[in-house]
């Protein structure tokens, strides 16, 4: 089964390269979910114009998914390399708490504290990556273990303490609320991260190797790619971005307890999957994952406006994830069938 899906997956990657850019755009997965997102926003705005056309509404629309975008981008890179990182929520929590603690207990400048939070994320990502790459064990098990371990460390360290907004310097909290040209700073950070990682994945040799490794690990190995190093880099990148997510979380919410980031791993994986990143690896873009994150959290905010009790939000998310992967499979099958007929016609 895995070999069959790999074959269709690789073909799916090759095929668009031959199509014209217009057709590529029209059939792209990113456009599809972007349209879905637009539809949700439009439908909700028709019901309640304040959803977009009020300063708060516009700000929240952009701001709320920003942190998830950062984490989902990292997760997407890991999934593309045919791994998964279940520990992102725990990493986010630890980084958020470290950031808050450094502000309350030390006099370090803001930038240093923020970098420390990000660095902690990178370090924890390195632990994951080293265990997966050199232990030669499935990422799911390792990161399930570190999900517990990191969260446990967090709870043991935090106890019943919590960082309050009043403990944090106002200029740091300003990051979470301020806007430049009415675009929230957090959103700008998320977009910069997204653009950088998207460029890295599509334009550098190392970036393309993630796809190669995710499509066919054995082939990548035979071809001489440094699989272990790439996997290690993917996890460090994911950890770094989760750490950044933690710093942003502290800036956005001001309150950090030992439960910060609980359940983020599933939202991040869900965002990536909805955005067209195939869970079997090798397919998808970080842009898709980012739009997936926006779709996921915008739907959650739109439901109450549309008159659906927000208790049903999670059910909808589940249906959306299942719908997305089924759609992917149907499209991939249709494409492989079309490619087969094309080949036999030649």
């Amino acid at each position: 089964m895995s070999t069959a899906s790999t074959a269709t997956a690789t073909r799916a990657v090759e095929a668009p390269a031959r199509a014209s850019w217009l057709r590529r755009l029209a059939t792209s997965r990113e456009l599809g979910i972007f349209l879905a997102l637009a539809l949700v926003v439009i439908a909700t705005t028709v019901r309640n114009p304040a959803f977009v056309f009020s300063p708060d509404g516009f700000r929240d629309l952009l701001l709320t998914p920003s942190i998830l975008v950062v984490v989902a981008v990292g997760q997407a890179v890991v999934i593309i390399s045919r791994n998964v990182d279940l520990s992102v929520g725990s990493i986010l929590g630890l980084s958020a708490y470290l950031t808050g603690t450094l502000f309350t207990t030390t006099e370090l400048p803001m930038v240093v504290v923020m970098l420390a939070g990000v660095a902690l994320g990178a370090l924890l990502g390195l632990v994951n990556g080293a265990l997966v790459a050199f232990g030669r064990v499935p990422a799911m098990v390792i990161t399930l273990g570190t999900l517990y371990a990191f969260r446990g460390i967090n709870v043991a360290w935090t106890g019943s303490n919590r960082i309050n907004a009043s403990d944090l310097p106002p200029e740091f909290l300003g990051l979470g609320t301020q806007a430049i040209f009415s675009i929230p700073v957090l959103t700008i950070i998320a977009l910069v991260v997204l653009a950088a990682v998207a460029w890295y994945l599509s334009n550098t040799r190392a970036g393309r190797e993630f796809y190669a490794i995710g499509s066919a690990p054995e082939a990548a190995e035979l071809y001489g790619l440094a699989s272990r190093r790439r996997v290690l880099v993917a996890f460090v990148l994911c950890g770094t971005l989760s750490g950044l997510g933690g710093v942003l979380y502290a800036a956005r919410y001001g309150t950090v307890n030992s439960q910060a980031g609980l359940g983020y791993e599933l939202q991040a994986i869900g965002a990536a999957v909805i955005g067209g990143v195939a869970i079997v690896g090798g397919v998808g873009t970080v842009l898709g994952a980012a739009i997936g994150a926006y779709l996921l959290l915008t739907i959650a905010r739109a439901l109450p406006v549309l008159g659906i009790p927000d208790f049903w939000q999670q059910a909808l998310v589940g249906a959306l994830i299942i719908g997305a992967i089924v759609l992917d499979r149907v499209l991939a099958r249709r494409q492989s069938k079309r490619l087969l007929t094309e080949r036999s016609a030649v």
């Binding site: 899906s5 064990v137 043991a156």
Partner: protein, 348 residues
């Protein structure tokens, strides 16, 4: 026959069988985890005050029953190389269904049967998506995990139903007369026996291992791969629903968010018990020991005054160590066996 296999360059997989029987039984992952469980039990009894008392044992067993039940089908699902992340949500959904039906005046057996039927249906949906659509079980069950939990929360909101017949809530907590063993252990024992026979003593069970080793090879050997996988998902959903009924009655409370995160605990315990996430290997006695190990550790640590959070760290570290040690051992064995066995199939 034996001399032939001994002299012929046997494939790596069968190399184990050249060793004496007592070594094959003793030097296994399962025995390692059982020994660890025994050591922890002895140490805890000696060092932790009040650990070796009937009351502690009763509560320990009551606590781990949910995990024990769900671990049975999960073991088989994971041996085929699949995974079911939706079990925790199914516990919650089953809990809500039982609660709503009891509130509507139905009896527990009727409500329970409906819940189990819903669980089986949920498992069937997972299984069909995985086999018919050829989707990875991980992706499907991440989706259904959110879906089933969402339905549970959607049906009941943030309220809780706490009106359950007293005789039932008493029954699930009652002990077998004269022992510190809860009555619900009988249910577990029956299921354990059924699953053990199914996995270890039937062609169906051999098929489960074969699928985990290689789906194609299993198919060519006449194993109905898709049907087996669907059946296992159905069993997983149904048993999760059964565990949900127990969970509801034990705590006397039906809530949509009951047993959130349970899926990860179950998987951690199953992997700790020696089941490979790649599929193809594992056994029920190891898994039961794995669940009990986590249960005993948390119970003993809680009695020793260690906060429950440290248990998370221990669970995580144990999990990582158990898989890493397997990988390291395999590497060492492959190193030692390298002169004898040549490259093909030397992946441990």
């Amino acid at each position: 026959m034996t001399t032939q296999t001994a002299t012929a360059p046997a494939p790596r997989v069968y190399a184990d069988h050249a060793r004496p029987a007592w070594r094959r039984v003793l030097f296994t992952t399962e025995m390692a985890i059982i020994s660890l469980l025994a050591i922890v039990l002895v140490v805890a009894s000696l060092t932790v005050d009040k650990f070796a008392t009937p009351l502690t044992m009763t509560y320990l067993l009551l606590d781990v029953t949910t995990l024990l039940l769900i671990a049975l089908p999960m073991t088989m699902v994971m041996i085929t190389g699949d995974i079911d992340l939706s079990v925790g949500s199914m516990v919650g959904l089953s809990s809500v269904i039982v609660g709503l039906m009891v509130q509507a005046g139905q009896s527990i057996p009727v409500a329970g049967l409906v819940a189990i039927a819903v669980g089986a249906l949920g498992g069937l949906a997972n299984g069909l998506l995985v086999t018919r659509m050829q989707l990875p079980a991980l992706a499907v069950t991440i989706g259904s995990m959110a879906l089933y939990r969402g339905i549970a929360v959607g049906l009941l909101g943030t309220t809780a139903i706490t009106t359950f017949p007293r005789e039932w809530t008493q029954l699930v907590k009652a002990n077998i007369p004269g022992t510190p063993v809860p009555v619900v252990m009988i249910l577990f024992a029956v299921l354990l026996a059924a699953f053990a026979v199914l996995l270890h003593f039937t062609p169906f069970g051999r098929g489960v291992y074969a699928i985990g080793r290689s789906k194609d090879a299993a198919l060519f050997n006449g194993v109905n791969v898709d049907r087996t996988r669907v059946i296992l998902f159905v069993l997983s959903g149904a048993v999760a629903a059964l565990a949900g009924i127990y969970y509801t009655l034990r705590f006397g409370s039906a809530r949509g968010d009951n047993a959130t995160g349970l899926e990860l605990q179950v998987i951690a315990a199953v992997v700790l018990g020696g089941v490979s996430v790649f599929g193809g290997r594992g056994a029920l006695h190891g898994v039961v020991a794995g669940v009990l190990l986590i249960g005993v550790l948390s119970s003993a640590l809680r009695l020793a005054g260690v906060t429950s959070d440290v248990i998370n760290i221990i669970t995580g570290v144990l999990l990582v160590l158990s898989v890493i040690s397997g990988s390291v051992l395999g590497w060492v064995q492959a190193r030692r066996a390298r002169p004898a066995a040549s490259a093909p199939g030397a992946k441990a």
